[in-house]
Symmetry: C2
Subunit: 227 residues, 2 copies
């Protein structure tokens, strides 16, 4: 047994669920790196383009920490990521930003969803993984940059507020669809994520629904920051 | 006068030439970040894709050091990069890799050309800039990864050697064309780069030709590493 078996934690959750969560987050960060790099084409200035490159580079840095953590646990990162590539690729394909502001809102929403999953990981993981999660979550720079840009755009054109809020809800909605598919395929991972809700060691679709109801609420609150 | 005026160094070169070189390298790193991110689509495996993302993230890190150096000198990075965007964009447009191996060779050649320019910068810059340059040049990881991948591909299919060498020469040739255009537009920058050759404080097209003859030689040697 490799070190991964320590990941189950006091809740008695299957270690593979925690490895799943590491793999899911690793691929989410990697694909987000590529998405943000591509979205930078939409930036109105070279400075903004460079700022989005900076956000992408931060995603790569998170990916590399997750990959290194998996490697130290004796787990191949590619194998751990593989079960989640289809769902995350689909989410990105179905939510291609059509403007610079949409790409910023997407970065913000995607980051917020990832943060919720990181928190679930921290609750059920060993000390080293918890440290990794706290390191990632302590970075507030992205949110500041994005909120400032979006707020100033809405200040200049208040009609943007409603359209961007709608875009934000669509992003969360599409994420929910993908999450339901992943939950059916990986019930132990779903149980781990749902455990934060109800202490369950298995999850039914109602639990997954509740997790995402909470996510949707918290993102609606976040999206109101720039109203 | 801002701190940029210290950059001329003992050769008495115009400080704006050294600022040009910082701006040129900053944009080269930034655009290379985007190019490598896009090229990663060609990667045969997720692990290789992640490795190319890592190279791209390193380019961003170099860019951010150059940008911060310019900012500390009181110079707007976007303004410093602007004169070089057309030439570097053209180089990338005219040398789009058609395969994973071509993208690796391009990363290697582009990095080698950049390293030559970094060395010129170090010779004519203040202590803080020299430290930045030595930091960037001390990173040998990229070359190792690329050489290993290309060598193993050529080992499996020796006919690749000639084709990739041709591709490498084309990359250097296209860079030379762009460099001639930049040299005509920025004679002081051309003089700074040529100074390493002949101690000149102004450059004619023969000097620029000699600089690139040396670059071409050194890259031909580098490209032979995996023969």
């Amino acid at each position: 047994m490799n070190e991964g078996s320590q990941l189950g934690g006091s809740a008695g959750l299957a270690p593979e669920a925690a490895v799943d969560l590491l793999g899911l987050l690793a691929y989410a960060e990697l694909i987000s790196f590529f998405q943000l790099s591509a979205d930078a084409e939409l930036a109105p200035t070279l400075t903004d383009k460079a700022a989005l490159a900076g956000l992408a580079a931060a995603e790569y840095e998170h990916f590399s920490r997750l990959r290194d953590r998996l490697t130290r646990m004796g787990i191949d990162a590619e194998t751990a990521m593989r079960p989640f590539t289809a769902a995350l690729d689909s989410w990105h394909e179905q939510t291609q930003p059509q403007s610079w502001l949409e790409s910023l809102v997407k970065a913000y929403v995607g980051d917020g969803i990832a943060a919720d999953f990181y928190r679930q990981l921290a609750e059920h993981a060993d000390g080293e993984t918890r440290e990794l999660v706290h390191g990632v979550l302590s970075e507030g720079e992205r949110a500041e940059f994005v909120v400032e840009k979006v707020r100033s755009a809405i200040g200049a054109d208040p009609t943007l507020a409603g359209r961007l809020a709608l875009w934000g809800r669509r992003l969360v909605g599409e994420a929910l669809s993908q999450a339901r598919l992943v939950a059916m395929d990986r019930p132990k991972l779903a149980a781990l994520v749902a455990a934060g809700e109800a202490g369950a060691d298995s999850a039914d679709s109602g639990d997954v629904g509740r997790v995402f109801a909470r996510l949707t609420d918290s993102h609606s609150r976040r999206l109101r920051h720039w109203d």
